[in-house]
Amino acid sequence: MSMRLDELNPGESATIVEILGNDVIASRLMEMGLIDGEEISMIGRAPMGDPTEFSIRGYRLSLRKTESSRVLVTKGA
């Protein structure tokens, strides 16, 4: 079941399915290591609800909703 990365709750993990679009944001996301098949987990949101902290490839990355909503993931693998 696919969903958007920004729909994950704190502590949940998912596998990346696709990065939507091929503009600068998509390229940047991929350069930072968000590639299909990679596992990503949601750590927590900032006090005002955005951005969100994720863990991927052993490091922590903060993404805004406008960026994380470009990532399709699937939960439970």
């Binding site: 996301l29 290591g33 903060s62």
Partner: protein, 752 residues
């Protein structure tokens, strides 16, 4: 292009490149000391930093390239990095080695940039920095295995603790002295690109060659991969317009062949990295970084996080305000002492005036900023090095996006409320160039502490002391608060306009790495503070000093000062005699003292009258008369105009200038009752008072919005490496100030 045959006596060049936040500047400082030459790459506002490697027999220049995640050449920074590394930049020797600095605690992502640099064909040294974090984060990294697989030297360092630096120095020397080898193309990540892409790259390379544009293979790859990339644009600008259709057709063929651009590149590179580090980098299952997570639970917590953030900011800004006050008072005291000393030794005249009002005031005006800069950068260095800075940006991002900026702009803007100079210098922590420029351009609108004396003087003299709510709220307080916030309010639409019209295009991304917390390193903090202070004093300082001298000259010449000098000499003689006159009860003595007292008063009046006459006939006074028609709609007379021009080096000067013009002698301060009285009594030729509430309000609004601070403008010049931006700031802020002051005057005139 220099080759290995270059004699050992000539200067060799190496380049340092890496992701942001990998400790690149610490490593650079460790290698080269603090004496870097800072300049600008021709044509772009990308900073060029070159240092000389210390402790080496060879003379080796180290180029510090801007921190970047990728060499995709979408931004100016990235294009500069590619051009420098491929030796295609005029006035810059081609580097013989690319030193790639990698965060050892985040190897996988950091090797992405490495895989690109590796393809440029330069000898490469991989530096695994932050080695001290590896163990702390439960990682094991086998550097030898990686070195063997790559076939390049790998050095482990902890730049902030000065560990591994000597080994890196030796490795650089060895690599420079050994014959140059190229990596086998099968070793590159590029080898894992799809076959269809290799064919297209070959075709495009041949096409470019036949069009007289021999292009390196790496650039050909970039042309095909990056949509709207930097190299495509520059080829187009050089007249090769067909490149666009060539690339489009090639991309179309790739699409049909099932090769997804640009996704295949990142996929191939990360695949290559996985093979490279397979078995060489392992992570313990139990994350020992969890202590960092526990801290984070609180620091980014919904309420507690905000509270801690507010608390930290409170401490930082209170320090800029109050802790800096002591050394600043000290500086002013020394300044007074120096002026006093000169006045005691030199007779009144042009030389004395130049030394006291020009040189000492100029030097003082520069040094006065040092405490605030040092304190702010001390805190920035601590917060950045321990890892909180990224969290602060994370916490504030939502708020700042509402004005089109990112969380990283918060601290520079907040510091600008104390003083825009350190605030503008702090914009360096913003990686996005556009965000940085917008932040830097609106920072001077924040109400700095130098505006306060002006507000206090105007408010206490002209705003009625009406109290509301049983004395709890005063009108004066409200006006003061309004003046404090007006700049920040105006900054919101200004930021929006700047973003919309001057820095459009690429939507700002906010992909930010959140490192785990660690203890800050004293070496790093010391270096950061030192570097910033030196950079301010040496570069902005000289310009601030020059402006002060210029304004002094405009104020002093061309008037004939002989009369004034004579009067001052007589006055000083009288004052000296009075000071040593014996205190006695004898009638004659008392009378003598009283007579002298009277004489002093008369002379003082004469000196002040002469001073104000001389100002009126000085170049500045002429300018004031000249601009009177322009400032009249703001409700000002020529004297206010003069005071405003004279306060260009620093806002707070207006108080002393008003004092001089209204014949009170220098040394007035904002609470000075006589200055307030004098201003209240000042009359226009038609008998109306010069200062009404409307005029006072219009002056305050003007000061709130204008760029009346040469230190700020010179810092903008220094930080952007161009005269364009200080001129732009000055023009836009002065226009805003003029319109604001005009509207304010018209409003209060019609209202009262």
């Amino acid at each position: 292009m220099p080759t290995a045959t270059v004699s050992e006596t000539s200067t060799r060049t190496v380049a340092l490149i890496g992701n942001p936040n990998t400790g690149k500047s610490s490593l650079f400082n460790a290698l080269c000391g603090l004496n870097a030459r800072v300049g600008n790459y021709p044509g772009v506002t990308v900073e060029q930093k070159v240092g000389r490697l210390t402790g080496s027999k060879l003379s080796i220049d180290v180029i510090d390239l801007p921190g970047t995640y990728s060499l995709a050449a979408r931004s100016a920074d990235e294009a500069v990095a590619v051009n420098v590394l491929s030796g295609e930049l005029a006035h810059q020797a081609a580097p013989e080695i690319a030193i790639v600095i990698l965060d050892a605690s985040n190897i996988e992502r950091n090797f992405y940039l490495f895989s690109q640099v590796y393809e440029l064909g330069l000898p490469v040294i991989a530096v695994l920095n932050m080695w001290d974090r590896v163990e702390a984060e439960g990682l094991t990294v086998e550097a030898e295995v990686i070195a063997k697989r790559l076939g390049v030297p790998v050095v482990c360092t902890s730049a902030n603790k000065r560990k591994g630096i000597d080994e890196l120095r030796r490795t650089i020397e060895q690599t420079l002295q050994s014959p140059r080898t190229k990596p086998a193309s099968a070793q590159l990540a590029r080898a894992q690109f799809p076959e269809a892409f290799h064919q297209e790259a070959q075709k495009l390379s041949e096409w470019l060659h036949s069009n007289g544009r021999k292009t390196s293979l790496y650039k050909v790859d970039r042309l095909l991969i990056d949509s709207d990339g930097h190299f495509q644009k520059s080829l187009c600008q050089s007249g090769l317009h067909e490149i666009n259709t060539q690339i489009e057709q090639a991309r179309e063929r790739l699409r049909v062949a099932g090769c997804k651009v640009p996704m295949f590149e990142t996929k191939a590179r990360y695949g290559w990295i996985r093979q490279l580090i397979d078995g060489a980098v392992t992570r313990k299952e139990t994350r020992s970084a969890s202590s960092s997570d526990r801290i984070d639970q609180w620091l980014t917590h919904r309420w507690v996080g905000m509270l801690i953030f507010a608390l930290i900011m409170f401490v930082v800004f209170q320090s800029i305000w109050w802790v800096a006050k002591w050394p600043m008072d000290g500086i002013q005291w020394i300044q007074g002492l120096a002026s006093g000393g000169i006045e005691a030794f030199l007779p009144p005249g042009a030389l004395r005036s130049l030394l006291v009002d020009g040189v000492i005031a100029g030097v003082g005006g520069v040094v006065l900023f040092v405490p605030q800069i040092a304190i702010l950068f001390f805190f920035i260095a601590v917060l950045e090095d321990c890892g909180y800075m990224a969290r602060a940006a994370f916490v504030m991002d939502k708020l700042m996006t509402s004005v089109g900026l990112s969380g990283k702009s918060f601290l520079p803007l907040m510091s600008s409320f104390a003083c825009a100079v350190p605030g503008i210098m702090a914009t360096r922590t913003i990686e996005s160039r556009k965000d940085r420029m917008v932040t830097l351009l609106i920072a001077p609108l924040m109400s700095c502490s130098a505006r306060i004396p002006v507000y206090v003087l105007m408010v206490s003299a002209f705003v009625p002391a009406i109290k509301y709510a049983g004395g709890w709220i005063s009108l004066q307080g409200i006006v003061l608060m309004g003046m404090q916030s007006i700049g920040a309010i105006v900054a919101i639409p200004v930021a929006w306009l700047l973003k919309r019209f001057l820095f459009p295009g690429e939507p700002a991304t906010f992909l930010m790495e959140l490192h785990s917390y660690k203890w800050p390193s004293m070496v790093v903090i010391y270096q950061r503070v030192w570097e910033r202070v030196v950079s301010f004093v040496a570069r902005a300082g000289s310009l601030i000093f020059c402006t002060t001298i210029l304004i002094w000259a405009a104020c002093y010449f061309p008037g004939d000062h002989r009369l004034l000098d004579e009067s001052v000499a007589t006055l000083e003689q009288l004052q000296r005699t009075q000071a040593i006159a014996p205190v006695s009860l004898e009638q004659t003595q008392i009378e003598e003292n009283q007579i002298r007292e009277k004489q002093i008063e008369e002379k003082l009046g004469e000196v002040n009258r002469l001073r104000s006459e001389l100002i009126e006939t000085s170049f500045l006074g002429m300018a004031g008369h000249r601009i009177e028609p322009i400032v009249r709609p703001l409700g000002w007379d020529w004297k206010i105009g003069v005071a405003v021009i004279a306060s260009f080096p620093a806002r707070e000067v207006i108080i002393a200038t008003l004092g001089t013009i209204y014949s009170l002698g220098t040394g007035e301060d904002e609470k000075s009752q006589s200055l307030q009285d004098q201003m209240q009594q000042a009359r226009r030729p038609d008998g109306r008072p010069v200062f009404s509430l409307a005029t006072a309000m219009s002056i305050m609004v003007f000061f709130a919005l204008c760029a009346q601070c040469s230190a700020t403008l010179m810092t903008i010049r220094r930080e952007t490496n161009s005269w364009r931006w200080p001129i732009f700031s000055f023009v836009y802020m002065t226009t805003l100030a003029y319109i604001g002051a005009w509207l304010t005057y018209q409003f209060f005139e019609s209202w009262s």
